[in-house]
């Protein structure tokens, strides 16, 4: 289901985009007094990124086996052990590296592709646009997960990088469409015409005039792409189609599932990786949400209005 949702989100995002006319400074100001959502999201992400980097140091060999398998959490193994006595905590730590890398790489590629096809097409217009939107529309209707399954099956040396690339390739189209719509809208702004009138070159207009104003959307797409990729990779790994040997949270779940961890009641094996995905995913979701709020301030949630005090105040002033 993760897939269709991702694709579905595109029209919604298209709808939400109303104005991006905010200068970086204002953005920075807003960033500083941004909502707790952004900060929570960023803090959690930062936490996982740090883990991703230091995992090789604190969990040097997550595959280290021992003769006692399936131990429930203990002091020595805070998250217990797998069936072949691997420390689940170490695996989760190592999996963090994989999952974070996938999110980052796939998010980046999604953004690059959607920029090439969305911004490029939208800005250049004419034949280029026709071609770019045709390609992205076709990719949009191609069924993602099955395609993913086939392509990952095709690629022999499936590494985490390759998986990320493949995920990005099947999922950039929605983002490109949103970006194209937004590019068209930015392109028709007067300042783009003004830049033309100032005889700026096409490239400069694209890079300096248009792109910066698409930044919030691009950022949101990066976050969204990363989230989607992490979920998609987890799904793929779960189906046994992930990167072999590559540790990610999805692959831990795959092994847990195959070793009948559920039947054996080894909850410590399958709960932590899933929870990690959910928490990191939620963090990305929160960041995305606050970007949406930046783009469309109406979406902000409101603090509860203190009705009582207001009424009292009004009565008093009457």
């Amino acid at each position: 289901m993760t897939f269709s949702e991702q694709e579905l989100a595109a029209p919604a995002a298209e709808h939400a985009v109303t104005a991006v006319d905010d200068a970086p400074r204002k953005r920075w100001a807003a960033f500083r007094n941004a909502s707790w959502k952004l900060w929570t999201g960023l803090a959690i992400c930062a936490f996982f990124v740090v883990i991703a980097f230091i995992a090789p140091l604190i969990a040097p060999n997550p595959n280290q086996t021992s003769s006692i398998g399936l131990q429930p959490p203990s002091f020595a193994h805070p998250f217990g052990t797998t069936n072949i006595g691997q420390d689940v905590l170490s695996q989760v730590l190592a999996g963090t590296t994989g999952s974070v890398a996938i999110g980052f790489i796939a998010g980046a590629i999604t953004v690059i592709l959607s920029m090439i096809f969305g911004v490029g097409g939208g800005f250049l217009g004419g034949k280029w646009d026709e071609a770019a939107s045709l390609i992205s529309n076709v990719f949009l209707v191609l069924p993602g997960l099955p395609l993913l399954i086939i392509v990952t099956d095709y690629v022999q040396s499936r590494s985490i990088v390759v998986i990320s690339i493949v995920i990005a390739i099947v999922s950039w189209a929605g983002a490109a469409r949103v970006l194209r719509a937004q590019t068209l809208s930015v392109r028709s702004r007067d300042y783009v015409d003004a830049a033309r009138v100032a005889s700026e070159s096409t490239w400069r207009i694209m890079l300096r005039e248009i792109l910066p104003n698409l930044m919030p959307i691009i950022a949101s797409q990066f976050v969204f792409g990363a989230l989607g990729a992490i979920l998609a990779e987890a799904g793929l790994s779960f189906l046994g189609l992930g990167a072999p040997g590559g540790k990610s949270w999805g692959s831990i779940l795959f092994f847990a599932q195959n070793a009948q961890a559920i039947t054996l009641g080894a909850w410590w094996w399958f709960v932590p990786p899933g929870l990690c995905i959910a928490v990191l995913g939620a963090a990305l979701g929160l960041i995305n949400f606050s970007i949406d709020e930046r783009i469309n301030p109406r979406l902000r949630t409101l603090a509860l209005v203190k009705r009582a005090s207001r009424d009292a105040h009004r009565k008093a002033t009457r």
């Binding site: 919604a12 209707v141 086939i150 987890a234 799904g235 779960f238 779940l253 469309n296």
Partner: protein, 327 residues
């Protein structure tokens, strides 16, 4: 005319590209069905070398050039002849899919519809009551929508299936009951479908809630909603007829499209619950290098998506008067 022509041309082109990809992608995958069968069999029993020939004959392996295969593939699509499945040899692919499709449509379809209806209504309501305590559900939904679907399924299976044993955890119905229009069977289908359906709804409803809430909030600030309130209309009418109706217009398209993606989305679902639908069949086909089956499944999925998009285009035209042709 031009506009519709373009649309039709687009759909045709997209269809053709998808069909062509469907043909070439599986063929790029290494291995062939005979080799797969041999490898599988050899793990269990020795297989004399001569067997390869028999198997190649059985699976109708051709050594024709790709382009010839491609042309006959195109011809076969139009005649609805997808050949014989390798996995379920020699059942026709059409039969294999015909058996799997109703399960997928039933489970995922109904669950999708429910999650949409619940999600959109609930999301709209949260948006409508912006500023109330309901707003605090928004971050919660963000968290829920980030949970990997299959993991949620695993947890539910663990709790309700394995520990509490309230629900069966695999299959489409109690396989000691013979299918038919009997209460036993229908009851069993519903009973077996409850947990998977609940999981799908739980996992996907939150993103609907968020989307609907955001659209509702945007719509609420539209002048016509403010006008409706100024007109002193009953809140129910303002909510339903003015705010929600407009807020949810875009979701209708989304809904139609997601119906097209049902088959697509069913892969992980069905593999967790071992549900006898199309998604499971697809995994089987991939594992067995079953080109004919894979191609037909892709074709169905792609056509469903294309069709849903097309329908969405049309529906949108019907429900949004702005896109109607002025007569």
């Amino acid at each position: 005319m031009r506009y519709y022509l373009r649309k039709v041309v687009f759909y045709l082109l997209a269809g053709w590209i998808a069909i062509t990809l469907n043909f070439f992608l599986p063929r790029m995958v290494k291995g062939n069905p005979v080799q797969v069968i041999i490898a599988k069999t050899q793990r269990l029993a020795p297989l004399p070398p001569e067997a390869r020939h028999a198997l190649e004959l059985q699976f109708g392996q051709t050594h024709e050039p790709l382009i010839v295969q491609y042309v006959s593939y195109l011809q076969h699509i139009f005649t609805g002849n997808f050949g014989l499945s390798v996995t379920y040899y020699p059942s026709p692919v059409v039969d294999v899919i015909g058996q799997a499709l109703p399960w997928t449509l039933g489970l995922v379809g109904i669950a999708t519809v429910i999650s949409y209806i619940v999600g959109l209504l609930f999301g709209s309501y949260i948006g409508w009551r912006r500023g109330s305590w309901l707003d605090s559900l928004v971050p919660v939904s963000t968290f829920l929508s980030a949970i990997p679907y299959f993991w949620l399924a695993l947890i539910l299976v663990y709790i309700f299936g394995v520990n509490l044993q309230w629900f069966p955890v695999t299959g489409g119905y109690d396989n000691t009951v013979m299918p038919g229009f009997t209460w036993d069977f229908i009851g069993s289908v519903i009973y077996y479908g409850l947990l998977p359906a609940f999981t799908i709804v739980l996992a996907s409803v939150t993103s609907q809630v968020l989307a609907a809430r955001n659209m509702m909030v945007s719509t609420m600030a539209e002048d016509y909603v403010v006008t409706a309130r100024a007109k002193g209309l009953r809140p129910g009418r303002v909510f339903g007829s003015y705010a929600m109706r407009n807020a949810l217009l875009p979701s209708i398209t989304g809904f139609a499209i997601s119906l097209g993606f049902i088959v697509n989305g069913s892969v992980v679902t069905e593999s967790v619950f071992s549900y006898p639908g199309v998604g499971y069949t697809l995994i089987q086909a991939v594992e067995n290098d079953d080109y004919p089956l894979m191609q037909a499944l892709f074709l169905i999925i792609t056509l469903a998506v294309l069709g849903a998009n097309f329908v969405a285009d049309i529906i949108y035209g019907v429900i949004d008067p702005r896109t109607r042709i002025a007569s």
